[in-house]
């Protein structure tokens, strides 16, 4: 059986090499450029869709001087700038997708840089469309789902509706010197700090949810929360929440009924004690 496969593949390679010997007919096609791996391209095809073109969207939003100086509560201007940058980049990405008549963009790679005076957002993905045509939707979808995840979800009756996103920036609260001394030996919750960080995180998540509702989504999957102080202003902490908004397009969710497999590969490992070590 395996011999047949090997011969098959050799024959294919030979055919391919021979095909180069004859010059192709003049081709006015706009060549497809896609950053999908061959596996992803095949999966996409098995779902009846195909890649069209590589598309990009960029935005740079300015942050005025003095915004990061230590204050209290939320840094509204920074949150607004971050939001504007993501929206702007997503709009341009959708424009490029519409120009090549794609129905949506998958596998979007998101690059965000928060600098002292500007916030930069860089999006790259592959525009895709159903093989058998169909009318281009008014607003193409954008999603950071890989082509593989897109195919899986589609098989279950769901489609991506858009990128869900929310951000919030906050100043770390201050403690008075007296309070700091008093608390030194105690085990105690720092309620100020807790409230501030908690509120900021929730606020980012809430904005993400709102962005999902705005595109008429039913849910958000793959939520990733990032947080951390700014490298240029360590008293300012930024929280962002990203995910893909999805919509149920079939009448009901279709169960996938997975096959359970038991790989018999572990010849050497007898007892996986790694689990116990939390590694």
């Amino acid at each position: 059986m395996s011999e047949d496969v090997a011969l098959d593949v050799k024959a294919e390679m030979l055919r391919g090499a021979q095909s180069l010997a004859t010059a192709p007919p003049p081709n006015t096609n706009r060549g497809v450029t896609s950053d999908l791996s061959i596996d992803e391209a095949l999966l996409l095809h098995s779902a009846g869709w195909e890649p069209v073109d590589l598309v990009c969207g960029v935005s740079v939003a300015s942050v005025p001087f003095g915004v990061w100086n230590w204050g209290q509560g939320e840094i509204g201007v920074a949150s607004a700038a971050h939001n504007a940058a993501v929206q702007g980049a997503a709009e341009r990405l959708k424009e490029e997708c519409a120009k090549v008549r794609g129905h949506g963009v998958v596998g979007v790679r998101i690059g965000v840089e928060v600098r002292n005076h500007h916030i930069d957002v860089d999006l790259v993905g592959t525009a895709v469309r159903p093989v058998d045509g169909g009318s281009t939707p008014a607003v193409p979808f954008v999603s950071d789902l890989s082509a593989r995840d897109f195919t899986l979800l589609k098989g279950a009756g769901w489609m991506p509706a858009g990128l869900a996103f929310g951000a919030s920036f906050v100043y770390a609260p201050r403690r008075s010197a007296g309070a700091a001394l008093q608390q030194k030996t105690q085990n105690i919750e720092l309620t100020n700090f807790t409230q501030a960080m908690y509120a900021a995180r929730e606020s980012a998540m809430e904005r993400m949810q709102r962005s999902a509702l705005e595109v008429g989504g039913h849910g958000v999957v793959g939520v990733k929360v990032t947080e951390g102080p700014m490298s240029f202003a360590r008293h300012a902490v930024g929280f962002t929440a990203w995910g893909t908004t999805v919509k149920l397009v079939a009448d009901v969710h279709k169960n996938i009924e997975p096959q359970v497999i038991l790989p018999l590969d572990d010849a050497v490992v007898m007892f996986a004690a790694q689990n116990l070590r939390g590694k």
């Binding site: 105690i188 919750e189 849910g219 999957v221 902490v237 359970v260 116990l276």
Partner: protein, 272 residues
């Protein structure tokens, strides 16, 4: 999450107003989850629907505790602190889940963050996805609360197929100080193959304490067992002679005990 008897009972029950607003939005039908697409599909397969991403956090100041240089001992004050801080975070996460009417929370992760402007304090965060059974059966645990578990979507589906249900995330912690060896002792055994009784005793006791406490919690939930136990050992910010031993797992009970897992296909993968 259960509370051991010796901890304060007046844990705050307030959630920030942004949280209540966000949860209201979720109750109107939108769901959020940090499940990957794989996990989402398997959770649906198990007959559950994700309700929302829930989280709880607490910034806790960990008080100083004096310790004897030459004695190995548990640092009970620090143990209490680490325990309470995680409790607070987990409790708030559970409150959010209850607010959504969830049966349970899957994929719980407990993280500890250190910020530069807070010395001796750390932020403890608990994240997870609240889920609800689609057929209306209640899966709340023996204490009438939604179950918590650190099982991934895949493990959750597999567990349900074996006729067991998760009850709650159980944990036991112990912060132990390991005695420094006296100079004479150190010189005496230099260059020899010898067991170090100090260290052996200390580390053994510490781990046992952590695991016993974890099992006590499971007992309170009337669980029949604990799966996926992990032992973590961290020095956090205390230096190398103070270690926190954390034992954490998911307590489960048998419902039917009937394994409906389809017979697996055995394969040999020839990949790297």
């Amino acid at each position: 999450m259960t509370q051991p008897a010796d901890l304060p009972k007046d844990l705050p029950k307030d959630l920030p107003k942004d949280a209540t607003h966000r949860l209201e939005e979720l109750e109107h039908g939108l769901f959020t989850s940090d499940l990957s697409v794989n996990e989402f599909l398997l959770v649906k397969e198990a007959g559950f629907h994700p309700l929302g991403f829930v989280m709880g956090s607490s910034i806790y100041h960990i008080g100083l505790q004096t310790r004897k240089w030459g004695e190995s001992q548990e640092l009970t004050k620090l143990t209490e602190a680490m325990y309470t801080a995680r409790e607070l975070a987990m409790n708030r996460m559970e409150e959010e889940a209850e607010e959504l009417g969830a049966d349970g929370v899957v994929g719980v992760r407990l993280d500890v963050n250190y910020y530069e402007w807070g010395s001796d304090s750390a932020e403890f965060i608990a994240f997870g996805t609240a889920v609800k059974a689609e057929d209306g059966t209640s899966y709340k645990n023996a204490l009438g609360k939604p179950f918590t578990s650190d099982l991934s979507g895949q493990d959750f589906w597999t567990l349900m197929q074996t006729g067991h249900v998760p009850q709650g995330l159980v944990m036991g912690t112990c912060v132990y100080h390991i005695a420094h060896r006296k100079l004479t002792q150190a010189l005496g055994s230099m260059g020899q193959n010898v067991e170090l009784p100090n260290f052996t005793q200390a580390l053994y006791e510490a781990r046992e304490l952590a695991m016993t406490r974890m099992q006590d919690e499971a007992g309170q939930l009337n669980a029949s067992g604990i799966v996926g136990v992990r032992l973590e050992e961290k020095s956090h910010q205390w230096g190398s002679h103070t270690i926190e031993f954390l034992s954490i797992g998911t307590a489960v009970t048998k419902t039917t005990g009937e394994v409906t897992l389809p017979k697996p296909l055995t394969i040999i993968s020839l990949d790297n």
